[in-house]
Symmetry: D2
Subunit: 359 residues, 4 copies
């Protein structure tokens, strides 16, 4: 109801504010008997953490986690898995100056409208720091879906006007983490990095697109009406801070195609039904068909800029707002593990939900 829970069977609840005691997540519904690799959780947190390169925020947060429950002798117990990431390098004073001001395109005004007050330090609960908890949970989900042969590969395919001009089938997905912007084509990556540095020098920010490919999904996942697999993936993505759009398969561009071009023809290959094209993006009627699932997620530029902007305060008076502290000029590199985490959570949930589909 208050919307801090995601998923139905593999279900997570996150908690915590950016400048409180810490962030955390309770994973309820992870099946028992999963050999849990804790290092893999830390690895994903490291991919998301601040300060990992010179094109992201320079805040130094270790983002190491503590496991509170749910695992015994290395295996999940079927009981809730509690994970906390304590907050470290907090500079709450950086926020004193915006205590009663509404930063443009932030959640300050809307939080006040909804709740009557807010934790103004670093965005509180609306901070993107909340996604650390999702990444930890997603790292568990990734391990669970791997037991079904599913793997998830996200990468940056656009930063500002710089596009990666290769499809997900043309890039080498193993190269994603080979550069700091997480674009698997080095030439494009270099241009993206240059742009981000330039934007940062201007005290400005820039948006982009993450593409995600999910491989190894068996046919049959997803529910055919409201909880279509792509609808749940779409909601998962749209729940990530700064996301403005989601498209899967042929997406917005595909609307210009006629049915005769757009339809994916079935044929049989090695005893398996496959399609000759994949404009459906691996999902038909809301249910996976065994082909690769792929989608694109649009991230707007970060709202906090190192420039002075006009705004109002809680009293409705005109004020000036200037960003302070250490912020991302571009969230895209750090968004990659978040997109993967949310994807993993959706898949884990639908694997378990699908167990009820037949007598």
């Amino acid at each position: 109801m208050a919307g801090n829970t995601f998923g139905q069977v593999f279900r997570i609840t996150t908690f915590g504010e950016s400048h409180g005691r810490g962030l955390g997540v309770i994973i309820d519904g992870c099946p028992s008997g999963l050999a849990l690799d804790l290092d893999a959780i830390q690895h994903e947190l490291d991919r998301r953490k601040p300060g990992q390169s010179n094109i992201v925020t320079q805040r130094k947060e270790e983002d190491s986690f503590e496991l509170l429950s749910g695992v015994f002798e290395g295996y999940t117990q079927g009981t809730p898995i509690g994970i906390v990431i304590y907050n470290g390098d907090q500079k709450s004073k950086d926020y004193e100056h915006i205590k009663d001001k509404y930063r443009p395109s932030h959640a300050d005004f809307t939080f006040d409208s909804k709740y009557g007050h807010r934790d103004y330090r670093g965005g509180g609960r609306s901070s993107a720091r909340e996604t650390a908890a999702r990444v930890a949970a997603g790292a568990v989900a990734k391990q669970f879906i791997a037991t079904s042969g599913i793997s998830i590969h996200a990468y940056v395919s656009q930063v500002g006007p710089i596009h990666l001009h290769l499809s997900h089938e043309e890039v080498d997905l193993s190269k994603v983490d080979s550069n700091i912007v997480r674009c698997p084509d080095q030439d494009t990556a270099d241009k993206m990095i240059d742009l981000i540095k330039e934007v940062r020098k201007d005290g400005d920010t820039i948006g982009g697109v993450v593409t995600c490919v999910i491989k190894g999904v068996p046919a049959g996942l997803g529910e055919p009406v409201f909880d279509k697999l792509h609808a749940d993936l779409g909601k998962a993505m749209l729940s990530i801070n700064a996301v403005k759009g989601f498209e899967y398969g042929s997406g917005f561009a595909g609307v210009e195609m006629r049915g005769s071009e757009h339809n994916d023809l079935f044929y049989q290959e090695e005893g398996k039904v496959v399609t000759s094209t994949n404009r459906s993006g691996g999902i038909q009627g809301g249910i996976s068909n065994g082909m690769d699932i792929y989608f694109r997620v649009a991230f707007k530029s970060v709202a906090t800029i190192m420039q002075t902007q006009l705004s109002v305060n809680q009293q409705g008076e005109e004020v000036e707002v200037t960003g302070r502290g250490r912020h991302d000029p571009c969230v895209l590199p750090r968004a990659v593990p978040i997109v993967e985490a949310m994807s993993a959570l959706v898949l884990a949930d639908h694997i378990l939900r699908n167990r009820a589909s037949r007598v």
Copy 2:
């Protein structure tokens, strides 16, 4: 779990197959005391029904509904509102020939993969006919949200390559229903209609985009983490048959803007906090800010075409599939009331959810 329910407080469950006894919906959580206009429900069903013009399917379905429960002496009772739309003009025989064939880009193969069998007549539960139940429920939701001053306006802004080159602020939203394609600009509408007729002549189909504007939303609706208002709107849209993408506010195009361009500056006008631009699309941090909410929804071309395509059957053998019966060459005109209905359901739900936000 099986995904036939949408919403948390204002919650609907739909049921029924396209060639079964009928389609229906149970609305649970509509507050008591709403004076319900039944004609308004029929009006919305009429906007969605087949055969309403010569650019949509020529199936003749009356889509009149029966109210089963929840209303007494003209007012909602706070009890579940049951609505059934009995199926009339069914030509189940039109489907005998595809009984064991997998139509390209339909849900035939995925249904079989998931459930082991399927109702092949007209797509069964995966038929877009299911959306009639949503439209009926949405018509109730519209009446509820109108008591909060909220109105919803969707229209067709693209058909194939034909774009409406006016923003939602530039068009006359009262003109949407003035032509059969539901594009509020007559010149563009004429071109769209011509294209659809041409496509139909070719036995083919075409996609497009619906734009939706929601006016009068008070600041404070939406939950800040997973159930962001736009995330719930996005899921609602992506759950509609044939939808491939969703973007709100500046959307995919906005990723190229820098923060300094993209940010919406606050100022005060007549004692109300407003923004000078609205790239946020009326939602910041997942919560409405009082400005217009607007978004775009991509619909692919209809999969059923009047041409012969190659496919496989349940035995994996190569077969030919040719569309029969009466189908839409373009779903866009009929998608408009569906987009509005799903939007109304999301808003109704969040109005009620928000009642728990403060002590």
Copy 3:
């Protein structure tokens, strides 16, 4: 949220008022591939229906049902199963005289307090007639759980002060329907029937107890914390009209026993772990242990009596209320299939939920 839905995976939503168009239920989450026996549904409705004997209400309602969706060629489809029982023999005029009066121990006053108004005809949504929808759904659930070898046997074990002095292990469960009061011991049944007739002659009503035994439950069903199997069974029973109490296993009487007497000792029999006694009632730590589950449900006397009582009306004025129409002097005989139905729904849900317990 509005509480017309029960269950998480095998989930039902009921709708309808006693004097509206009809009662109904949507079963969402029944797995596909169940060969559904429609006669078995009617059989359960007949066990619950009014007018079945001379010790229950003499209203004549056929309670025949219409199947709206979810079944094709005799098998469930995994899609929602919609069932409606249209109202027939309605005498709404019987209720005109209590339109603005609050009948003692009915829901009239509380409905008005909650909703501001109510459908006064026959109790509207608070009528026990709502349980017809549950019985229909339960009949589907019974067929599903039978595929796991589970069977449910409820019977009347007390009417007013008349107790059945045999345990559930001592009675012949096949005899439950052999008499009109549904007590498997004929001598006790005769006394119960005599009492009910006497009470009815006095224009009065009487309560009683239903005992329920569930056989064939595999070990492992139930969730260990909030959704303990007996907690869900308890809620299911307490949600039935007129129920005042629930106890399972040793129940209230068991609190006087010491741990050394109460503990059920494990031993092995034919390769299966069993217990020498069964004070646990087949459930330990909220999870079934493979032994018989048994519990008792207390039903108070029906509130509508054929005598004159003092009360107040909506204006708070003192009024007299006298029961009219045809009412049950004792709900116990008709409560038996309702208890079984709700039990079957709980078991069906937990069978499916348990499929997510292990990797």
Copy 4:
């Protein structure tokens, strides 16, 4: 789904094992703006904690809590409130000897049946220690419902065969905590204490009954069909470890009363509709009527006894089990705050749910 979450709007998720890092709870849906008294939370934990008197377990656990999130400058934020109670005085070695044995009437066998393995140390997740998390959450709920004028008063009304022969209206509810057994009548309390000491001396355990009274509930809370207020209270109670039964109002004894005796007659007093008797227990048709809500909860004797019992191990071999460590001879005194906590959670949830009942 996995059942570690309770409530719909005011919703808690608990986590943690008795011998892991700690126990905790996430409260999601507590409205913003509640001035939270942290001492009051500690006070409730102290009422539940081990070692508080010489008739409960002598384990020394401080049960002090850490607040992780959701409160800023003393007020709830509308965001999730995270609370952890770290485990201290753990003697895991006390459990080595029962590592592969099934203790009689514990959850050992059923956990293994469900999950394939278990955390054997102190019962793991099935330990009553989990209720500490509930008590902490309940202490928050108590503060929220107090803003609506609601107060909750539980007490021990039976231990073994020793009954408190006074109704909830006859006892002085302010005296509950005046003795260590939490029975508000000192004479009865003394007898209960003597019995518990005697039982403990025998290495045995004993059960009892907790009675709970809820005062100040406005008319209108509860949902009329499945989520009747007493059904949710019943489930809440039955989810507490060792509970075997629940009855409210007239309960099991009331079934012997005729309708003419049982009905509560309405009259008006100081402009308010009240009833002359209260056999309904403050709830009619599942909805509160403004009178006191009261109910009784049966607790069986603790399964761990200091005597040798026969059982089997995981291999099905006959073994002897003897209790070690420090256990409660009777859980009743410590159950009182747990019953209150769960009651508070149900009321908090229904206050918020009821906000959606009217337009």
